[in-house]
């Protein structure tokens, strides 16, 4: 079932985001990442880091306490509603240097808070290639506003990075 590409938004400043969504719809944008509090997707400070090998493209969000950047790339890209998908994920220091997967524990999940439910499946997180996590088996089974969560645990401290994925 192929249900159009989603819009991906950072959680903060919803009003600002809606305005951007509106603008992008009018110009026919298919997929958008808006990161109000974190470095933008094309920020040279991030893109210039030689350590970033994979995902070669994708979306970057900042964790809620600012301790990490998370870069993720959906497979397939764009995400499709009610279709199984995977995410390639890299966890980075705020300066953009990639953290090896054996240094942190990553948990990925998604929910529709306005509906009071999450996904019906638990994705599996495995390490791919030393510095890339593979989140296997995400299923956004309904259209609407989803929140995507990445919980990063390092040295017994857990920090969350999150963004909104809107499936029209």
């Amino acid at each position: 079932m192929s249900i159009g590409p989603p819009t991906i938004l950072a959680l903060k400043n919803l009003t600002h985001i809606l305005a951007i969504v509106y603008s992008l719809i009018l110009v026919g944008a298919a997929i958008t990442l808006v990161s109000c509090a974190s470095p933008p997707e094309q920020a040279p400070a991030v893109e210039s880091q030689a350590q970033i090998k994979k995902p070669s493209q994708g979306h970057v969000i900042e964790s809620n306490a600012g301790g990490y950047l998370v870069r993720f790339k959906p497979r397939p890209d764009p995400l499709l509603v009610n279709e199984l998908c995977d995410l390639e994920v890299q966890v980075m220091r705020p300066n953009g240097s990639v953290i090896e997967t054996d240094k942190v524990v990553l948990f990925a999940d998604a929910a529709m808070p306005h509906h009071g439910h999450g996904m019906n499946v638990v994705p599996q997180v495995t390490s791919e290639d030393g510095d890339v996590f593979l989140v296997d088996g995400m299923l956004f089974h309904m259209p609407g506003r989803w929140e995507l969560y990445f919980d990063i645990t390092e040295d017994d401290v857990t920090e969350r990075a999150q963004c909104v994925v809107f499936f029209e």
Partner: protein, 444 residues
Amino acid sequence: MRCFLRIAALVVLATPVVVVVQAQEDGTTNSAPLTPTQQTRLRRHANLPALSVDATNAYANREEAVALGHHLFFDPRLSGSGSLNCTSCHDPNKAFTDGRKLAQGVGLINRNTPTLLNASHHRWFYWDGRIDTLWGQALEPIESPQEMNGDRVAVARLLIQDKSLRQAYEKVFGSLPTPSEVVEWPAHGTPRFDRPEERDAWASMSAEDQALANKIFVNVGKAIAAYERKLLTGPSPFDLYMQGLEQGRTTLPEGMTPAAVRGAALFVGAANCRMCHVGPLLSDSEFHSVGIVGNDGDVMQLPGRFGGVQKLQANPFRASGSFSDDATNKQAQLADRLVVGPELWGQMRTPSLRNVALTAPYMHNGQFDTLEEVLTYYSTLEGAIFPGHHQEAILEPLGLTDQERADLKAFLISLTGTPPEAIYLSPPAAAEDSSQSATSSSSQ
């Protein structure tokens, strides 16, 4: 939910262009406006795609398997009494339902019979999703004591001993043992816990014989599934309407009325039915509680998905089980990764709305006789019970006007597709013979 609706409303209101569809209704010209957003959303619900490969069933697309499954579907000898077959509940003349509030097999079953039309597009089967393979679904009623009350040993014996079935089976699945090789088998046997006598008999069989009976039984399911994959409906008036829009046509096809167009706009707009009835199947094939209670009480008696997940994970005929022809594919792995928790209590699978006008009565307990009653329920949610605060909360009374309910009903009627190929709607000649001989012998 409210926030979502506000967002959706913003998107709709922000779009300045409106498409006007001209239509003839009762000799007058009517216009039914669809915004581009509505068109985009509706496009995603139109035109069922080609059926995907079923990797768990290597025989799913074999015509010989279809022929065997077609025969077995109509063969009452699969049942314990020899008087029931798959059509007892899935009657081709009733859109592969039974028209009953609750299904009636050997006993009364506490759920309404879902249609088999387009069932092969679903991810999970049964109202509670207790199985994830079409062939596994086909096997469950055969052995259920409330449904056909047959058993796998008797079914395997039938395939081995009946000359016609044996030939048809061996064309697809390879050689069967000779009747003399299974002469020591008990007449009946199954490992099911709810069939104690047959379970004892099953336990008396050698592991080798059990494996053989299981293999034949599973192949019966795979053949029936191959047949059921043919039970696809063709384009509906709604599909043709959407195709017409793509090609710039402004006239409505036969069966698509201006009221149906208005209903379609509501479906993806204010009524927001698309939240669960999403995609070309008009079902997310997932599970939700819509507040429908049991037939004889005011609490949700059926565990729904809560029980379904546990049954699925224990079912040997699941996609990731040892009888699957591809237990490693991504879809197969889903069953082992399902969330299990109290929020699943009472959740039932979203039914497809394709051909819904043909499949009354409605809801998992057959509570509503008509589409009008269903729409009135969603309009008011009168009598709805939601069992706990951990449950999803996506329903609010829609407060539909009489006109809106009529429009939505017109849209639902427009989802009726052309029937499957006629040859699949009646028994093959050989099955008619089997049916007559079974009826004749049971009446003697």
